[in-house]
């Protein structure tokens, strides 16, 4: 870590002729004696990466949000191809605006919509189901045996007679609750999707989602629309997420504008403000270009990275500018000023950036691809900042300089800050926290706050807490549609599935079906389970059907011949509970919600059943279905959260120890962070945000970036202390030199992410809220708690030096200290 005190004195050099261009480190000479090359290189790189951006794709992948090596997720991924019932599908409910579905106008509209959906690319046409598709049939047991036909009468002609036939067929086909709403005011089109289109390319969810949206526009909007249309399904959700992401991309512009005003307010110099912003944007272009080169896409998580890179870039750039301005204000030539700044800050800036990298890198331990990608791309982005903001900014400043007025103002402000009785009253107020009375108040207050926060944080729930699709806001169109469909049809959107694996052909044995039935029944007992469905239920129903519909036959017969006949029926009627080889059959539980407690209950019950009943020929594998995946993810998130906190604090503490070379100082720097972490969890409880994949990275980022404040303040304070000043004076001096920077960093970081609060994607909004809170609160914590803790822990640092170094010349190098924030 740089210790500014020991740096050579930097004289004011007004004329370039007086400056030895061979002075400074090798790196400095390489950069500043080849300035044009550097600028040209950066320009070319920017063009190159900018060109790459044409291939930048926005995507939202469900799979990447799964903890890939978790046992249950492995089971799910390994067997997913065999789970027919849980393939991707879209459900479209068409509601009659007036009356019920049994009127010719509604049926005409439904027919048109049905036909349009049918021809959309990616639709698995043979299995599309609605009351208008021929696969939907009614069957009835008569004295002569089975009779049946399509639900839509073959001679349908919109006459009252044929509509009445349709009405009867709907009743006979038992589709109320699935294809027809319980209140008969809407009907459903179930659109199964192929995993790949005819050419083998994966189905474009976004395009499909757009086509359906366009159909909705045409039929369901305007004053003479006869129907309302509600759409749910994974593909639609992904489409909506991507739309949301595009909106979030626009927030970037907002972040740039707010950063512009913050920096301008700070420097009052338009040209250097534009330079800092420009270089930070360049960093973002490089970072995104690299994302493309690595073959990644922008997803709802990695989209955070450009925002962070930009915000960090701006705060670091502003510091560089601060140093250069003061030098130029003193009259130093702009090139020399740039080189002085580089000399003072390159190493320091790099250390600070490395601290950020630590925060990101820790995220790599979480075995969830989106978070790993976030960690990797963020590390790349921060690495890029070393070039664009630590090298390019000083080089560019050496060309364009700063406005003389701003430079003069900056110098005056600095001198005012450093005057014995001058300076900012806020700094003076904060400095009083080094006094015993206020220090005690601050520490006790923090303790109380921490204790309260801790009690609150115990209520923190794992997982998602809202109904519907947790990715989107509860009042989003998708979730409103989802609410409509779940309340009007007998389906739940939260499905927990156990996969029962047998040897080929084994899914239909009496033993397997009996166990499947037992599992279904066992799961049905769990509170929060609405109902369970499995092949066993199908066989029960079909067996009764085979025996004249006699309810006494609603059983799983121990006569395999009777079962086999029903299995044949199930195969020919395309049952979703059978795969081709008959070696995997799922037991589905429809849940009332996907709260962590519900998931944990059913998970434990299923796990216990599996442990007690697994045999070589019959494995009960957890867990599929969205709720099964959620349950597994919750397990990983809970574990990862603890592990990650441990790692990130260990890393930060180590970094602080290297920087300060004092364990007491480590405590002083880390305690405010811990308080913030605790309060962030309390905030999550308060806002109803669960601990989940999206909130995991927040804590690591908050701590990793948050420690910057402590490093800025404490390193300067310790430098002054080690130069002989007592704690109070050293802290006040540190404030007047770096307080502004701390405030600037806090504000720019917060401004960078606060726009996310308005994201249509719920978890992005949650991330935005939490990051903003952590950035701001870390800043406040640092400004208040560092002096208070220093009073008790760091008095020794001053005395030691005072005794040992009487000949040390304190306070004759404000310049170096002021610039050397680290």
């Amino acid at each position: 870590m740089a210790t500014p005190i020991n740096q050579p004195k930097m004289e004011v050099i007004r004329d370039l002729k007086d400056f030895d261009s061979q002075s400074g480190s090798l790196l400095e000479r390489m950069i500043f004696n080849n300035r044009l090359l550097i600028v040209l290189g950066c320009l070319l790189l920017t063009l190159f990466f900018g060109y790459q951006l044409r291939d930048l794709r926005i995507a939202a992948s469900y799979e990447k949000m799964l903890p890939q090596s978790q046992e249950y997720i492995r089971n799910f991924l390994d067997n997913r191809a065999e789970l027919r019932g849980m393939g991707d599908s879209i459900r479209i409910s068409v509601e009659a605006k007036d009356g019920d579905i049994f009127n010719p106008e509604y049926l005409a509209e439904l027919a048109k919509i049905n036909d349009e959906i049918f021809i959309l690319p990616g639709v698995d046409r043979p299995w599309m189901k609605s009351i208008f598709t021929p696969v939907v049939r009614w069957t009835e047991v008569t004295e002569e045996g089975f009779t049946g036909g399509p639900v839509l009468p073959n001679d349908y002609d919109a006459s009252p007679r044929s509509i009445n036939d349709l009405r009867i067929n709907i009743a006979r086909a038992d589709v109320v609750g699935s294809l027809v709403a319980l209140d008969y005011r809407s009907s459903m089109i179930i659109v199964p999707l192929m995993s790949a289109d005819a050419e083998g390319k994966p189905v474009d969810y976004e395009a499909l989602s757009r086509s359906i949206e366009e159909i909705r526009q045409r039929y369901a909007s305007g004053p003479d629309a006869k129907v309302n249309i509600y759409v749910i399904g994974f593909a639609k959700l992904m489409g909506d997420l991507i739309d949301g992401l595009i909106q979030v991309m626009m927030f970037f512009g907002l972040a740039v504008v707010s950063a512009f005003f913050i920096i301008l307010l700070y420097t009052r110099c338009i040209r250097s403000t534009l330079l800092v912003l420009g270089c930070s944007v360049i960093a973002v272009i490089w970072q995104l270009g690299l994302v493309v080169l690595f073959g990644y896409t922008l997803d709802p998580f990695s989209m955070l990275v450009p925002f962070l890179v930009f915000a960090i870039g701006v705060s670091h750039g502003a510091q560089k500018m601060n140093g250069i301005m003061q030098d130029i204000g003193r009259g130093t030539h702009r090139l020399v000023a740039a080189r002085y700044t580089f000399r003072r800050l390159f190493l320091a800036g790099m250390t600070a950036l490395l601290a950020d990298v630590v925060g990101f890198a820790v995220l790599m331990i979480i075995d969830i691809p989106v978070i790993r990608e976030l960690a990797l791309t963020a590390s790349i982005g921060v690495g890029v900042l070393i070039f664009t903001n630590l090298i390019l900014i000083p080089v560019m400043l050496s060309y364009i300089g700063v406005s003389p007025k701003a430079a003069d103002r900056s110098l005056k402000a600095e001198q005012a800050e450093l005057a014995p009785n001058g300076g900012n009253p806020i700094w003076a107020g904060l400095a009083r926290f080094t006094e015993r009375r206020l220090a005690v108040v601050a520490i006790l207050g923090s303790l109380a706050l921490g204790a309260w926060g801790f009690m609150e944080s115990l209520k923190l729930q794992v997982g998602d807490l809202d109904a519907g699709a947790p990715e989107l806001r509860p009042d989003s169109r998708y979730n409103l549609d989802n609410a409509f469909i779940t309340s009007n049809y007998a389906i739940s959107s939260d499905i927990f599935a156990v996969m029962v694996k047998t040897p080929t052909g084994g899914c239909s044995s009496y033993e397997t079906l009996t166990e499947v039935d037992r599992l279904g029944w066992t799961l049905a007992q769990v509170s929060g389970v609405q109902r369970t469905v499995s092949l066993a239920d199908t066989i029960r129903t079909y067996t009764a059907g085979m025996f004249e519909g006699n309810p006494k036959w609603a059983t799983i017969s121990d006569n395999q011949g009777i079962i086999d006949a029903q299995i044949n029926n199930a195969v020919s009627w395309n049952s979703e509970f059978l795969n081709t080889n008959c070696n995997l059959t799922p037991v589905l539980a429809y849940l009332a919600d996907h709260k962590a407690a519900t998931l944990e209950r059913i998970l434990n019950t299923a796990k216990q059943f599996a442990e007690e009943n697994n045999t070589e020929d019959r494995q009960f594998l957890l867990a599929a279905g969205n709720a099964g995946v959620d349950a597994a993810t919750n397990i990983v998130v809970k574990e990862a959260n603890r592990k990650m906190l441990l790692y990130v604090y260990a890393a930060v503490a180590l970094l602080c120890l290297i920087t300060f070379r004092s364990w007491r100082a480590v405590i002083v720097a880390v305690v405010p962070l811990i308080l913030t972490s605790i309060l962030a969890e309390a905030l999550m409880v308060h806002l109803g945000i669960g601990m989940k994949v999206a909130t995991l990275p927040v804590v690591a980022l908050g701590v990793g970036i948050g420690v910057d404040y402590g490093i800025y303040l404490l390193s300067t304070q310790l430098a002054f202390q080690r130069a002989g000043m007592p704690v109070a004076e050293a802290y006040r001096k540190a404030l007047s030199t770096t307080g502004k920077v701390v405030a600037l960093v806090g504000v720019t970081l917060a401004a960078g992410v606060i726009t996310w609060v308005w994201s249509p994607i719920k978890f992005q909004a949650d991330m935005g809220i939490l990051l903003t809170f952590m950035f701001v609160w870390n800043m406040l914590g640092a400004l208040i708690l560092i002096p208070a803790l220093s009073h008790f822990l760091l008095q020794g640092e001053s005395r030691r030096v005072q005794k040992a170094a009487a000949d040390y010349a304190p306070n004759n190098d404000n310049n170096a200290i002021a610039g050397g924030t680290i």
Partner: protein
């Protein structure tokens, strides 16, 4: 048979021991696994219900048996040594009752339904048949003995067991159980020993028996192809009394004056002469009629698989719908002396005091309900997503 009692207890004890020892790896048949306690029992399917004294007893799938002592308001789940699907129940007295079902199980309770023991299962029943009609057995000399043995061996060859679908106990000692392929047993010692009775019924085509009922004059069996069999008390043979119908009759009910048999597709047949002659009622529903009972005043109630209950005040000639608070496919119904009806079916147990609707509205409501309820078990393989 004492041996069977011991077998039942031993299986139970063995099961408990294995469970305590750790994971049970081998598959266990439902006839050997006790019914699990379930809080959802009252909301899950129940197959049959009966009333005796102040008790109402309902039986259903997975060994579920529920007993109510307050006319159906509150229920207690009984301890049952099997988790087989139970389909019929008979209580000749308040204390003693029997239940039968799949796996060929016969269960007996001597404490008013609170606890049950297994008296017979399908494997044992097969042996009874083979032993009885074999060359060395007591029935060896009967005309069809070798046919019964052959048939039983064919059935054993299919694998599995033969379910019992019907039970009726005349008193605490004498009772009958019946099932598929002409299967019929009689006991005279409260189920301790059972005698095959296949030779005591006119059933040359070996039709399945699906229900058993009785009145002051006789015991009746119903089954496939519109068949009703009658055995007057004191006789020892069931005589076929065909209705002329060719579909399955799910059940029958009699109050001594009127005998009503009912089955598929709204079929209702009535007889005023104990089954000698039948008249068909005009169908009021297309759904199968699963259950019925007579009230003390002679009113007949019938429950259907599409979830409606109809009432006849003219001895089964015309029917009117009964307004219900809730509906489900009904599988069984019974009535307390106070007039409270307990219905069981696909969604569990419901109790209500049945009221007659305004006649005109009622007729139209019925038409609607037969369409709109739409949950016909007969058509249970519709494309529910």
């Amino acid at each position: 048979m004492r041996v069977f009692d011991l077998c039942g207890c031993r299986a139970l004890v063995l099961g408990v021991m294995l469970a305590a020892a750790g994971p049970v790896l081998a598959f266990q048949d439902p006839t050997a696994v006790p019914a699990a306690k379930s809080e959802r029992m009252l909301m899950s399917p129940m197959s049959a219900v009966t009333h005796v004294g102040n008790r109402t007893i309902a039986v259903g799938p997975r060994g579920h048996i529920a007993v109510s002592e307050d006319g159906g308001n509150t229920w207690r789940q009984s301890a049952v040594p099997v988790s087989s699907d139970l389909v019929a129940v008979s209580f000749p007295s308040e204390q003693h009752g029997w239940a039968v079902g799949h796996g060929g199980v016969v269960l007996h309770s001597s404490d008013g339904g609170a606890s049950w023991e297994k008296q017979l299962d399908g494997k044992q029943a097969s042996h009874l048949v083979l032993d009885y009609y074999s060359n060395t057995g007591p029935g060896a000399e009967l005309p069809d003995a070798s046919m019964f043995v052959d048939r039983e061996q064919v059935l054993i060859g299919f694998g599995g067991t033969q379910p019992l679908m019907a039970v009726h106990f005349v008193n605490e000692q004498v009772g009958y159980v019946a099932g598929l392929f002409n299967r019929l047993f009689q006991t005279q010692d409260g189920g301790k020993t059972w005698q095959p009775w296949q030779h005591r019924v006119d059933n040359p085509n070996e039709l399945h028996f699906y229900s058993m009922t009785a009145d002051a004059q006789a015991v009746y069996l119903t089954g496939e192809q519109g068949s009703v069999w009658r055995m007057r008390h004191g006789e020892e043979r069931f005589v076929e009394k065909p209705t002329g119908y060719d579909g399955t009759l799910f059940g029958a009910v009699s109050n001594g004056q009127t005998l009503v048999a009912f089955g598929m597709r709204g079929s209702v047949f009535r007889s005023r002469d104990g089954g000698d002659s039948w008249a068909r009622a005009k169908a009021y529903t297309q759904a199968g009629i699963s259950s019925g009972t007579f009230l003390a005043d002679g009113t007949l109630l019938l429950g259907s698989l599409s979830g409606d209950v109809a009432r006849s005040v003219d001895k089964g000639e015309t029917f009117e719908p009964v307004k219900l608070a809730k509906s489900m496919p009904f599988f069984g119904l019974t009535v307390t002396p106070s007039g409270k009806v307990t219905l069981v079916g696909a969604a569990g147990i419901q109790s209500e005091a049945v009221k007659l609707e305004n006649k005109k509205d009622a007729a139209s409501a019925l038409v609607n309900s037969s369409v709109s309820i739409g949950k016909q078990r007969e058509t249970g393989h519709g494309y529910a997503n």
